[in-house]
C-alpha cells in the first residue's frame, strides 16, 4: 500500500500581518511526481520553506513519513529530509562530483577520503541511470543537466525521499529536460517522490502523476490522471489571447541578419528578421541562444560571425543599446535591468540623454514622458524606490523603458520563463505593446509555450541551424 510522504492539513501561515498560506491542504504519496503550478506566486516560497523546515505556523499540522513533525502549538524548527533542485547550484564549485555527493553529507565520518572508492561508487550510480558523468569533474564545469543529476544523487545519499524541482524547464534545454524526466521516473520506482514546480501546465501534465494548482496561499484544485487536459484547466487559468486590433503587418525589409554567430560552443547559421516582425527563435537544446543573447547584449568580449542591424555591421564590444539600435532584455530583467538606487522615473528614462544627444534632459521632456507613461504603468511611475514595486510593475518599467527608447530591434531572452501566470500574461501584453509601436521583436527561448501568441514567425533551431519555419497561420501545427 502506498505510503504518504508528506501531508499538510489546514495550514495557516501568517507573517508581518500577511497571510501566505491560507487553510492549505497538500499531500504527496511515495513514488509519485506531484506537479505544482502556481497561478499566483504569493505563498509559494513559504510553502516550499515549510515543506523543508518545521517553522512555526498559526494553524494546522504537517506530517512527514506519517509522523507529526510540525503543528500550530509546537514547532521545533527541525528540518525534514527534503532537497530542492533549482536554477542556482547547490554544489560546491571547487569540489569534484564525488566529493559533493559523499564528503559533504552528514554522517560522513572518515578522516581519510579514499577517492578511488568514492569515484567507483559514483560511476555505479550514474551507470544505473544510463548516463555518464566523470566523478572527478569539478562541479563548476558541469552543465545544468549534469549538475541536476549530481544534486539528485546527492539528495539520495542524504536520505531525502522528497525532492522539490523548481522550474527545471527554465534552465534545462528540451533534450536535457526529457532525459531528466526519464531519470526522475526511474527514481520514482525506487520510492522517491518529487514536487515538480513549473509555470506551464502543458509540460507538467506530461510528467506528473497528479498536479496541484496553487493560488492565493491554497491549493485550488488537484488534477488526477484523466483530468490533466487543457480543457480541464481552462477555467482556472487566464486567457492568453491578445487583441487583434493594432497589429502591424511585418514589412519585407530585413532589419536584422545573423550569420554564423559563434561564441565558442555552438554556431548559429543564417537567420533573418524583417522590420516590424516578432520572430521567435526556439533552441530546444539551449545550444546557441544563451551565447547569442549575451553577445547581442554586449556581455561577450569576443564572438565570431556577422550581425547586421539595418545594414550596419555590429561587432563584439559595440554598445548596442544606444540611440536607435538594439535593446536586449535579459531573462530576469526585474533583478538585473533596473537600478535599486534610482527611482521609477530615473529607471524609465535611463540613458535617454544619449538617445536625444543632450547631457541634461529638460524638465518639460520628463513631465511629458511622465504624463504619457503614467497612463500605461499606473501610479508606480512616481515610486521613490523600485524595491516597493510589485513584480508586474517592475516588468512594466523594464519594457516601457525599451518602448520609450524605440530601438530598431528589441531582443527578449526567455521572456516568459519567470513569474506566475498573471505575470506572464502581463509580459505578453508588454511585448505586444512594443510590437504595436513598430519595434521589431526577437524572442530567444528554449520553450515555445505561450510565446506563439505574440509571434509572427517561429524558427526551430537544431544545433544552431534553423531546420523548421512556421508562419503564424501554421502555428496550430506546432507541437507544444
Amino acid at each position: 500500500m502506498r505510503e504518504e510522504l508528506l501531508r499538510m492539513e489546514n495550514i495557516i501561515w501568517e507573517s508581518g500581518g500577511e497571510r501566505y498560506l491560507d487553510n492549505l491542504n497538500f499531500h504527496v504519496i511515495s513514488g509519485e511526481i506531484m506537479g505544482l503550478i502556481a497561478s499566483g506566486s504569493k505563498g509559494l516560497g513559504q510553502l516550499i520553506e515549510l515543506i523543508g523546515h518545521n517553522v512555526p505556523i498559526q494553524f494546522g499540522r504537517v506530517y512527514y513519513l506519517e509522523k507529526l513533525v510540525n503543528q500550530y502549538s509546537y514547532s521545533d524548527g527541525s528540518d525534514n529530509r527534503v532537497y530542492v533542485i533549482e536554477e542556482s547550484s547547490g554544489l560546491i564549485d571547487s569540489l569534484s562530483v564525488a566529493d559533493n555527493i559523499f564528503v559533504l553529507r552528514k554522517g560522513f565520518r572518515k578522516y581519510v577520503v579514499n577517492t578511488k572508492v568514492l569515484n567507483n561508487q559514483v560511476l555505479r550510480m550514474v551507470e544505473e541511470m544510463s548516463i555518464s558523468i566523470p566523478p572527478d569533474k569539478k562541479a563548476a564545469d558541469l552543465n545544468p543537466f549534469e549538475r541536476c543529476v549530481v544534486e539528485l544523487l546527492k539528495a539520495k545519499m542524504m536520505g531525502c525521499r522528497l525532492i522539490i524541482l523548481k522550474h527545471p524547464a527554465n534552465f534545462l534545454g528540451q533534450m536535457h529536460l526529457q532525459e531528466f524526466h526519464r531519470i526522475i521516473q526511474v527514481c520514482c520506482e525506487n520510492g522517491v517522490s518529487f514536487i515538480y514546480i513549473g509555470n506551464h501546465h502543458q509540460d507538467i501534465f506530461k510528467i506528473a502523476h497528479r498536479v496541484s494548482l496553487f493560488s492565493d496561499g491554497r491549493i485550488k484544485k488537484v488534477f488526477v490522471a484523466g483530468e490533466m487536459t487543457d480543457a480541464a484547466i481552462l477555467p482556472y487559468i487566464i486567457s492568453y489571447d491578445l487583441p487583434d486590433s493594432g497589429i502591424r503587418i511585418p514589412e519585407d525589409e530585413i532589419i536584422l541578419r545573423i550569420k554564423n554567430f559563434s561564441a565558442g560552443q555552438g554556431v548559429m547559421a543564417d537567420v533573418e528578421m524583417r522590420k516590424g516582425e516578432c520572430l521567435t527563435l526556439l533552441d530546444p537544446e539551449n545550444y546557441v541562444i544563451g551565447d547569442l543573447g549575451k553577445g547581442l547584449g554586449g556581455q561577450l568580449a569576443d564572438w565570431t560571425g556577422e550581425v547586421m542591424l539595418d545594414g550596419k555591421s555590429l561587432r563584439a564590444g559595440d554598445q548596442m543599446f544606444r540611440m536607435d539600435g538594439l535593446a536586449v532584455i535579459p531573462d530576469d530583467p526585474t533583478e538585473t535591468y533596473l537600478f535599486p538606487d534610482m527611482n521609477a522615473m530615473e529607471n524609465l528614462t535611463f540613458l535617454l540623454d544619449q538617445k536625444i544627444g543632450k547631457s541634461l534632459i529638460k524638465k518639460s521632456y520628463l513631465k511629458s514622458i511622465r504624463s504619457e507613461y503614467a497612463a500605461l504603468t499606473g501610479p508606480c511611475i512616481d515610486a521613490a524606490k523600485i524595491g516597493e514595486l510589485t513584480v508586474r510593475e517592475r516588468y512594466s518599467l523594464v519594457y516601457y523603458r525599451v518602448h520609450l527608447f524605440k530601438p530598431k530591434v528589441a531582443v527578449c531572452i526567455q521572456p516568459l520563463a519567470k513569474g506566475d501566470m498573471y505575470c506572464r500574461r502581463h509580459v505578453l501584453d508588454l511585448i505586444f505593446t512594443l510590437k504595436k509601436s513598430g519595434i521589431s521583436v526577437l524572442l530567444l527561448t528554449n520553450n515555445i509555450t505561450d510565446t506563439l501568441d505574440v509571434s509572427d514567425r517561429l524558427l526551430v533551431l537544431t544545433e544552431g541551424r534553423p531546420v523548421t519555419e512556421y508562419r503564424k497561420e501554421d502555428f496550430d501545427k506546432v507541437k507544444r
Partner: protein, 336 residues
C-alpha cells in the same frame, strides 16, 4: 472579560518582573558603588541572573506559550481534542480538571447528538418507518399488477434507500454498503434527471485489492449527503449534462474519497468560509433548524468524522465557479 488585575497570571508576572528588576538594580548598584570586591560580586550575580533568565525562558516561557496557544485555539473554536492533550499543564490540579472536564463532556454524547441530527435529517417529517415500507411495498405490488415495471423498480429502490438511511445510524459500515446506497440513490435520481446526470466510481488501487478496499469502514451516511449536495447545488441548476465521479484511494493509514462534480462550482468567498468551518469541529450546528437543513448536511458529516476519529480527519472542498467542485473526505483506514 475580567480587568487585568483580576487575572492571577498578571499578578504573578508583575511580581516576577518586579523581583527581577530589583535583582538587576542591586547588581548594578553593587557594581557601581561596591568597589573592586563589589564589582566582582556584581558580575557573579549578573551571571546567575542571566542563567536564571535563560532557564526561565527555556523551561517556563516556551512551554507556557505552547499551552496558551492551544487554549487560544480552543477558545476560538478551532480545536477540541487538543485541549485534553496539552503537553505542559499548569499544575496537577489543572490536569485533573481537564480530565474531569473530558469525562463530563463525553464525546459519545456528542456523537449521539450528531447521529440524532443525521437521523432527523433522514426522517424528514418523522414518518414511521414501518408505515413507509409497507406503503411502498403496496405501491410496488399495484405497479407490478398493472404491468408498470418502471414504477415497481423505482418504488423498490426508494424502499431500499429509506431502509438504509432511516434505520439506526450505526457508527461504521463498509464502503461497499455506502457505495451500494449511492448507486441506489443515483438510480432513483435518474428517473428525474434521465441522462442529464451520470455517475462513475473509480478506484485507485495501487497494490490493494478492490475487495479489500470495499471492506474498509466509514461512518454511515458519509457519502450520500455529499452526493446529494453535488446534485442539488452543482448539477441540477447547470444547463446541460452533469457528471459525478467518486474516486477512492488509500494509503497505509488513510482512506481518501473524492466526490467530484462538473457543476456550477462555488464562489471563492463562500468556499473559503465553508472550508474555515470544516477545519474544526462545528458544535454550533448540533441543533437542527428546518431552514438550514440542506446547509448543515456536510457539516454534520464532517462533525461525525471528527468526533469518531479525531480532528486530523474530515472534509475539505475544492471548487471553481463554472468548473465544478471536489469534496475530499479523509478517513482513517479502518478494515473489518
Amino acid at each position: 472579560m475580567k480587568k487585568r488585575w483580576g487575572y492571577i497570571s498578571v499578578r504573578i508576572w508583575t511580581l516576577i518582573l518586579t523581583l527581577w528588576l530589583i535583582c538587576l538594580l542591586i547588581t548594578i548598584s553593587l557594581g557601581i558603588f561596591g568597589g573592586n570586591a563589589g564589582r566582582n560580586v556584581a558580575w557573579l550575580y549578573f551571571g546567575i541572573l542571566l542563567l536564571v533568565t535563560y532557564i526561565g525562558y527555556r523551561y517556563i516561557c516556551i512551554p507556557l506559550s505552547e499551552t496558551k496557544r492551544v487554549e487560544r485555539q480552543f477558545a476560538a473554536g478551532y480545536v477540541f481534542d487538543d485541549l485534553f492533550e496539552i503537553r505542559y499543564p499548569y499544575d496537577p490540579e489543572t490536569e485533573g480538571v481537564q480530565s474531569r472536564f473530558r469525562e463530563l463532556l463525553d464525546t459519545r454524547e456528542l456523537i449521539n447528538v450528531s447521529k440524532k441530527q443525521a437521523e432527523y435529517l433522514a426522517l424528514q417529517n418523522q414518518i414511521n418507518p414501518h408505515f413507509l415500507y409497507n406503503t411502498l411495498e403496496g405501491i410496488r405490488s399495484e405497479a407490478l399488477i398493472a404491468g408498470v415495471d418502471s414504477i415497481a423498480e423505482m418504488t423498490e429502490s426508494l424502499a431500499t434507500f429509506f431502509r438504509y438511511t432511516i434505520s439506526h445510524v450505526e457508527h461504521l459500515v463498509t464502503l461497499e454498503d455506502e457505495l451500494a446506497n449511492i448507486e441506489n440513490y443515483y438510480y432513483i435520481q435518474q428517473f428525474r434527471f434521465g441522462d442529464k446526470l451520470t455517475l462513475s466510481i473509480q478506484y485507485d488501487l495501487a497494490d490493494m485489492e478492490e475487495m479489500e478496499l470495499l471492506q474498509c469502514r466509514l461512518p454511515k451516511l458519509t457519502l450520500q449527503p455529499i452526493v446529494e449536495n453535488s446534485i442539488y447545488h452543482g448539477i441540477e441548476r447547470k444547463i446541460g449534462k452533469g457528471s459525478l465521479t467518486i474516486r477512492i484511494s488509500a494509503t497505509v493509514n488513510r482512506l481518501l474519497i473524492r466526490v467530484s462534480d462538473d457543476g456550477l462550482g462555488m464562489e471563492a468567498d463562500v468556499l473559503s468560509a465553508l472550508n474555515e468551518r470544516l477545519k474544526s469541529l462545528s458544535l454550533d450546528d448540533v441543533n437542527p433548524r428546518t431552514d438550514r437543513q440542506g446547509g448543515i448536511a456536510i457539516l454534520n458529516v464532517n462533525n461525525r468524522i471528527k468526533l469518531l476519529f479525531g480532528e486530523a480527519y474530515g472534509i475539505y472542498i475544492y471548487s471553481q465557479p463554472g468548473a465544478g467542485t471536489d469534496v475530499e473526505i479523509t478517513l482513517p483506514l479502518e478494515r473489518v
